[in-house]
Symmetry: C2
Subunit: 350 residues, 2 copies
Amino acid sequence: YTITALPGDGIGPEVVAEAIKVLHAVGARYGHTFTIREALIGGIAIDQTGTALPEATVAACQDCDAVLLGAVGGPKWDDPNAKVRPEQGLLGIRKALGLYANLRPVTLHPLLLDASPLRPERLVDVDLLVVRELTGGIYFGEKRREQDAQGEWASDLCVYTQAEVERIVRLAAGLARQRHGHLTLVDKANVLETSRLWRSIATRIMREEFSDLQYDWMLVDACAMHLLRRPSDFDVIVTENMFGDILTDEASMLAGSMGMLPSASLGSGKMGLYEPIHGSAPDIAGQGKANPLATILSTALLLRYSLGLEQEARAVEAAVSAVLEAGIVTGDIARGEQRAHSTVEVGSAV
Amino acid sequence: YTITALPGDGIGPEVVAEAIKVLHAVGARYGHTFTIREALIGGIAIDQTGTALPEATVAACQDCDAVLLGAVGGPKWDDPNAKVRPEQGLLGIRKALGLYANLRPVTLHPLLLDASPLRPERLVDVDLLVVRELTGGIYFGEKRREQDAQGEWASDLCVYTQAEVERIVRLAAGLARQRHGHLTLVDKANVLETSRLWRSIATRIMREEFSDLQYDWMLVDACAMHLLRRPSDFDVIVTENMFGDILTDEASMLAGSMGMLPSASLGSGKMGLYEPIHGSAPDIAGQGKANPLATILSTALLLRYSLGLEQEARAVEAAVSAVLEAGIVTGDIARGEQRAHSTVEVGSAV
Ligand SMILES: CC(C)[C@H](C(=O)O)[C@@H](O)C(=O)O
Ligand SMILES: CC(C)[C@H](C(=O)O)[C@@H](O)C(=O)O
């Protein structure tokens, strides 16, 4: 299998290195060969090539079985008015590869219940999956910035087409069918025309193709509350790009440390991009403090979704549980008497 | 003082009735006369007049010192594709009165720490105010729904002008100056052109007019996390309309029960609209179970912001604390052995 690694910025290279070690361990145990090719993205790509997404990177990603990404961004490239910005790499690669669905599962290992800002009793049965539409909506619509007699103004256009809604709803409903059979569709249909389009299209698809599933609608503001009030009631949540951005970050707090949560970005084929949901954490970069488990769990998703290696994926997940139980953890999740282990120590233990 | 009461739907009439009792008690104690005029809004207005915001309601609101609103909406009027919908009343009155700033303070009475889904130790010092822009952005931009050869598509336009950004930033910064001197501006400047406009305008205003304040920027996805991770670090948050809708509902969960949180919507004059942040709760309407404290605390904001009666506002807030301490509370916040009191009992006790 050929994997393109995009270590990116900040702690990206450190956590990706540990995930690659884990991939090679899987290869040795189960008899696979993983060929890893590195490419540039984000701030480091800007520094070395002048653009956040060099053509060579796109080409490498188009010609492999899966992509493993660290993180992009940092204070050095932080000016929102700059012409080239690290996140253009992330947005660009999603679009270039047609990765229209971002999957973020949230589950809590019992040992980490204490790390959450929420009361443990609310969290015990949490096992949810947020499916975020990733290549449409206000992220990619027309942007304007103009000046008129009254001063400056700006606009962003949020657009969704029938085909975009259909494919993400089908993908999310298919995942719900493999899980607990319950899909929650989140929108703002009392205000947005795009949301009303989602409702009419999704209602038809759910009735015609997924009549075995339970589904309901929730307004995005209500969802922001219910994620805290009754998180264990959710199974699969599907929503548009911007709402998904906000809700997935909120949902990540259920798990306490961002250092534990993986994500997968999928398109219409098997190819996918896998990354931890945490950012580049420039404040701790290069210090061996970064928690590699979110990236390692992302490789489990890579094994599962892009390579179809379910047994291998479970082996990685079981190994992560085992290191948690053995207390071999980085400082962000160390408890009580536990020593803060280094990124490399945790990766090696897995 | 002339107050327009818009009881609206569901539990709206019950909670507004208690708030009016409190206003009259303030009048008797401090020597003011409050003349209350009722008008229709929301679902009840649709039923009686065919529109969610009758002209008589707009006229009444334009000719008074302040507006007290209950809640709008309910299952009866829930079809998102209907031509007339209750929330059009709410959106319409905000626009008609030029109420461009929605203020939602979140503080927790120590007795209610246990009602929150968050761990009490994170909540002890929470005292934040979210200022949401209320008459611009994607709520009011052009909406389209079309059909082409590929199928249907829809769009919503998010627009902000310099003048809209200037007035809300000034208002929020002015409030921060009266509080703890710290303003957090929340946007999505790594993706949205409107956010980049906000940043450039707000940066200039903060430097030129509020150099005594501390201010920082936060991306909306990060804010959705930090509201849970370190809620007591915030003082005043200012953000655009849609982000404000989501973040205020999320922030309300810090306080556990929505039944405690008031809001104020302000424009350029003294006139304002005051309402509890909870909705119409049709499931408990007419049963005397609704918590009237959020609406009563909204009248405290009315006394403070529209009428300039600070002493009277504090008297109402102190009375609410006293009934909490006396355990005269509705079922949503009753603890342990406490009896669930009725809406009327709680209102009378205040
Ligand atoms: C970096 C940014 C553009 C990106 C997004 O908003 O999609 C990030 O927040 C994410 O969620 O992957
Ligand atoms: C009812 C709805 C249109 C409204 C909004 O989104 O503004 C509500 O959620 C609110 O926050 O007051």
